[in-house]
Amino acid sequence: MNRLTQRAALAATAFLLFAGAAAAQEQTIDDRINAVFSGATGWFVSFIFSPFPGTSFPWIVAWLVIAATVFTIYFGFIQFRAFPHSIALVKGDYSDPDDAGEVSHFQALATALSGTVGLGNIAGVAVAVGIGGPGATFWMILAGLMGMASKFTECTLGVKYRNEFEDGHVSGGPMYYLTKGFAERGLPGGGILAVLFSIFCILGSLGGGNMFQANQAHQALTGVLGDYPGFITGLIFAAIVFVVIIGGLKSIASVTEKVVPFMAVIYVGTALIILIMNADMIGWAFGQIFAGAFTGLGVAGGMVGALIQGFKRAAFSNEAGVGSAAIAHSAVRTKEPITEGFVSLLEPFIDTVVICTMTALVIIITQQLVIDEATGNYLLNEAGTAIRTVGDTSGVGLTAAAFGSSFSWFPTILAIAVILFAFSTMISWSYYGLKAWTFLFGEGKTKELVFKVIFCIFVIIGASASLGPVIDFSDAAIFAMAVVNIIGLYFLMPIVKREVNSYLDRLKSGEIKKFKH
């Protein structure tokens, strides 16, 4: 096994060198990578996004929304009932002062957020609104609110069934609750689900957690610096990721982790200022969002098109039901696993209901989408696949144009934000992927190194390929995780129900008290 993995590492390194050398001679390497990439992943993408027969509605989107609805109802709208308590937990009102120095609820939430707040909020929303129109925003917010219940369920289980090793470090996530939780309930198949989840998690970490990020970071850079080949961005990013995750240069990761929240605040702050500057348009924008949600306002696929885009982007952005956050949240120090569930439900709220909605509103209010004056509907581009935009932009370019129309200097800030977000998301996902990898292959330096090298190679591929195939593969891999994770959640949700009932009873009776600080 060891020799095999070492060989794989060598082969991977050889490929890396080859890619670098070939790139030096061949200017069209981007196109080649693109062709090979779409060829290799097309079948997987078509399977995940195959629609229900006779409709254009992908089964996977229904799968996520139904799950979020089931959890919302099963737990009696826990996301609204427990919202104030969640905030009290994050503030530390219920944290034992003697546990100071351990991972706090705030820290677990902040780290999980830095893995999810990122390009989904900037570029992903632009893609959704660009294709599905303003109406997509409505469905995105709805999916975000419902997704809070999914996140609550998975993060509670993540903490409850984590592994605590003798030296004190912890490992948690769906792999662990699928195996241990199923065993505890006497159900078969937990092991198989855990293995499947891990495989998809590795693919997801290479896709949405890596290639999509590299790709959009490259787009952001070309937006500021002018066009140049993607593999250059890829190589630079891969080198930095390499020093951090392989070289153990923790300071870069720590700095990013501290800068990212500030960038998020700057981003939301600027969006708010733009909204205030255009306060008279906010009513109109919401009108467009509601009208678009139920009629489509001329977008490709009509109302269903808007709905699919909204749901897809929400799921991709906040990852509720995907299982990734359960890995990040599981390190918290608490005697009650359910408390982390409460805290985690804030994540889709901040990510989707607040930040994503800001992006969508700015794009709509700054009128980047071209409206046909005669009909009031949106005009489509030449291919008929997306709405025509003012500067013919899409993805992160559309967001940059929207913010740039109010503040000409903003695209530069946005490019920095995109790069930092991309980087912090990559670091988080390299960790999620690694956890899945070590779950499959066991812990060990060489085994971990193989994964990390593969991760770096995918950074280069991601930056070089064009947006279409990358975004499709990213979505497909991440949604495949959700397929397995949600099956597990259905079987394990009675356990969460027991926990939540017991906790809320004790909270009510005064047994669980706030600590004096």
């Binding site: 120095g101 705030f106 902040a110 004190g168 390190a331 918290v332 120090r333």
Partner: protein, 144 residues
């Protein structure tokens, strides 16, 4: 009378001066010296996923290290002078935690040493002595 004198102690030269000063007062009044070491910590800081995973392990290591290299030698020094001694090892904001410790122990006084940062430095980074003077629940002696 068995008063408690809380000494904020971090092993530095200034902290040692504060400890000596408190011991002299203790010897005269028959009070107990409480050596309090606070490891700077905020529950609102930002950590990477790997740091989260290892936090519990690191905390144990940090506590062991502090106990061994800071608390134990200081305790030995106080005991050597025949002064009764207790120790406290906590995580948190240094000034706030010292106040909490003093409050909880119903201490008579807090002693700390002063590092002597410039005024600019204190403005930027804050100063333990400054915040302690403003918030301490008991009289506070700052030893230069």
């Amino acid at each position: 009378m068995n008063d408690k004198f809380v000494v904020g102690y971090d092993g530095s030269e200034a902290a040692r001066r504060a400890l000596d000063f408190a011991m002299d007062r203790d010897a005269a009044q028959g009070a107990t010296v409480v050596i309090a070491h606070v490891l700077e910590w905020s529950p609102y800081s930002f950590l990477t996923p790997t740091e989260l995973e290892e936090r519990h392990m690191r905390r144990k290591e940090e506590l062991n290290r502090a106990e061994k290299s800071i608390i134990t030698p200081a305790k030995a020094a106080v005991e050597g002078k025949g002064v009764p001694v207790e120790t406290v090892l906590r995580y948190g904001h240094i000034a706030d935690t010292l106040c909490e410790v003093a409050d909880k122990m119903e201490a008579a006084q807090i002693f700390i040493g002063r590092n002597g940062h410039s005024r600019f430095g204190s403005r930027v980074f804050g100063s333990v002595a400054g915040s302690l003077v403003q918030t301490a629940p008991v009289p506070c002696t700052i030893v230069p």
